[in-house]
């Protein structure tokens, strides 16, 4: 699986979970789901874009 696909799957699971936990009305559920899901995916892409210029460096040794 690609990094992006894993991020989308994670965002999907968490968004569905909190939507079912916090909202009862269908319209409110759709609104909250979209806010959470898009917030995580778009936010993740934005953070990735901001970090892009920084070099990753060699992997740290496993203790």
């Amino acid at each position: 699986m690609s990094h992006f696909l894993l991020m989308v799957v994670y965002a999907l699971l968490v968004s569905l979970f909190f939507t079912a936990l916090w909202r009862r009305e269908r319209a409110e559920q759709v609104k909250l789901f979209l806010q959470l899901f898009l917030g995580m995916v778009v936010g993740g892409l934005a953070v990735a874009w901001l970090m892009y210029p920084f070099p990753s460096g060699p992997p740290s040794p496993i203790p």
């Binding site: 699986m1 990094h3 894993l6 994670y10 699971l13 968490v14 979970f17 079912a20 936990l21």
Partner: protein, 138 residues
């Protein structure tokens, strides 16, 4: 001297407990969604079960870490409590399937996030079942 008007009505009416909150919370912890099933929220129980188990299965397929406390690393204790939040699946993975995760696997970090999230989501379900049983939530 009389009480100011509205003092009594501004207080929210106390709701009666729907079910034994301790039983609901213990069931919710043992099996994801079981607390909600006990409280007659069948559809939500099924959805929560599917979501928590899906996160756990994806995490295990990626060889994520099923935390245990490590001496000298206090944060692993918190992570262990978080993972144990998933209830019976944690102990089944640990003791029946001898699952630990694979630190050298490509998906280790992602898998750990999924496994830990499954445990933390179920801990929230325990609190939700407790509130529903007390009549504080629908």
């Amino acid at each position: 001297m009389s009480e100011p008007s509205g003092t009594q009505t501004s207080q929210p009416a106390a709701r009666a407990a729907v079910a034994n909150p301790l039983v609901a919370a213990v069931l919710a912890w043992l099996v994801p969604g079981a607390g909600h099933l006990f409280l007659k929220r069948g559809r939500r129980a099924l959805l929560f079960f599917v979501l928590v188990i899906a996160a756990l299965v994806i995490g295990c397929r990626l060889d994520g870490n099923l935390y245990t406390p490590v001496e000298g690393q206090p944060l692993t204790l918190l992570a262990t409590v978080g993972c144990m939040g998933m209830g019976l699946p944690y102990f089944a993975l640990r003791y029946l399937f001898d699952y630990h995760g694979e630190v050298m696997a490509a998906g280790y970090e992602y898998g750990t996030a999924f496994v830990l999230t499954a445990g933390l989501m179920n801990l929230l379900l325990v609190l939700d079942a407790w509130d529903i049983a007390l009549g504080k939530k629908e």
